[in-house]
């Protein structure tokens, strides 16, 4: 009989990605609906003026380093939350090649994070 005590269990490195997932999930849960409403829906729905979203005004807002950091933090966590959850969902859909899926989704998240950093800080 196959004894579980002979199974090779060892503590995983998952906490690294899971903490990003959990933090990202909380941040997006609190802030994303408002952000979507603000950035993407308020103007077309006539709730806010397009002037508030002019290049110059956004430039002004982003000139504050705290704002830049907050924006980076929120989007960074959001990207990694989505990447990890989508990886797990692929498993639920029956996709067995977990390694490939992980590289794909975390890869996209990495590239996006890089572009984000460049756009904000350089």
């Amino acid at each position: 009989m196959n004894s579980t005590n002979q199974k090779n269990y060892h503590a995983s490195h998952k906490p690294v990605i899971w903490s990003l997932f959990a933090a990202g999930g909380t941040v997006t849960a609190l802030l994303l609906p408002a952000l979507i409403m603000l950035m993407a829906l308020a103007v077309p729905l006539g709730l806010m003026s397009a002037d508030l979203f002019s290049y110059a005004r956004i430039q002004d807002l982003l000139s504050n380093p705290l704002v830049k950091l907050a924006v980076f933090g929120i989007i960074f966590l959001s990207l990694w939350h989505a990447a990890h959850r989508m990886r797990c969902t692929m498993h639920d859909f029956g996709v067995r090649a977990d390694g490939v899926v992980a590289i794909l989704f975390y890869g996209v998240a990495s590239v996006m994070s890089l572009i984000l950093a460049v756009a904000l800080f350089f």
Binding site: T4, N5, Y9, H10, P15, W18, S19, D92
Partner: protein, 261 residues
């Protein structure tokens, strides 16, 4: 006494499988006159007594404390002694618990489950060895409250039948095993968290759970294994970062190396 005139005829479609005779499981139908107060187990006992002696199934206490009589009832994992006929339609599909191999008819093999329970070392690892003269552990009601609901598990395995991750990977250690481990990790008398860590924080344990939550929904004793697993994830994450960022913290594992009898 039961009133035969008030009986409702319920059709039970039961999955049958005889390993000596059958290549595949198949369904067999029985018409059972059910009294209003009956549970599914009563109907199945009626079949065994009056209609078909060959039907095999597990049961014992008939009051949802022994955990023996788990079945799939119209696709939902339930205890047959806890499934009231009056809440069910006239046609009831009865199958053995999902995600387990079938030994015969409604009897499933539980060896894998038992191994998973044993793997989490479900016994008190005390802070230090105690003698009889030291007396008993003391525990306040608040300390008991921390883990009391987790002690209610009757090992009925309904949570394993409900969990889609168990279906996708039979090596997944599963809800009951992790709830049991968490029960001990939360017990103020226990210091065995480090000893359980390798099993609990492995990829076959908490990290395979995606918090579907079906386990807690089917649990007849309201153990809430889903909650236990999420708390375990947070605890394991804390442990992980502590071990990297604060290696100078004396690890409990150093004191608890080796098995406790």
């Amino acid at each position: 006494m039961s009133n035969p005139a008030k009986a409702r005829i319920v059709q039970l479609e039961i999955m049958r499988y005889n390993p000596d005779l059958d290549q595949q499981p198949h369904f067999q139908s029985y018409d059972v006159p059910c009294q209003e107060e009956w549970v599914l187990l009563d109907a199945i006992n009626y079949i065994k007594d009056e209609l078909d002696r060959s039907l095999s199934y597990r049961w014992s206490c008939h009051m949802a404390v022994c955990g023996s009589c788990g079945l799939m009832v119209n696709g939902v994992p339930m205890l047959s002694c806890h499934a009231f006929i009056r809440d069910m339609p006239d046609l009831i599909k009865v199958e053995p618990m999902e995600n387990f191999p079938i030994i015969r008819d409604l009897v499933v093999e539980m060896d894998g489950f038992i191994e998973k329970l044993a793997a989490v070392k479900p016994y008190i690892h005390p802070k230090e060895e105690r003698n009889i003269e030291d007396g008993c552990h003391n525990q306040s009601p608040e300390q008991l409250l921390d883990f009391q609901s987790l002690t209610q598990c009757i090992n009925c395995m309904l949570c394993y039948s409900a969990c889609p991750q168990v279906a996708l990977d039979h090596d997944f250690i599963g809800p009951a095993a992790m709830a049991l481990a968490h029960r001990y990790n939360l017990d103020s008398r226990d210091q065995g968290r480090a000893v359980r860590k390798d099993v609990i924080a492995s990829n076959q344990a908490i990290w395979e759970c995606t918090f579907v939550g079906a386990c807690s929904e089917v649990c007849p004793k309201h153990v809430d294994p889903a909650a236990a697993i999420q708390q375990a994830k947070i605890a394991a994450t804390g442990d992980y970062f502590k071990s990297f960022l604060m290696p100078w913290i004396k690890k409990a594992s150093k004191d608890n190396e080796g098995e406790q009898p």
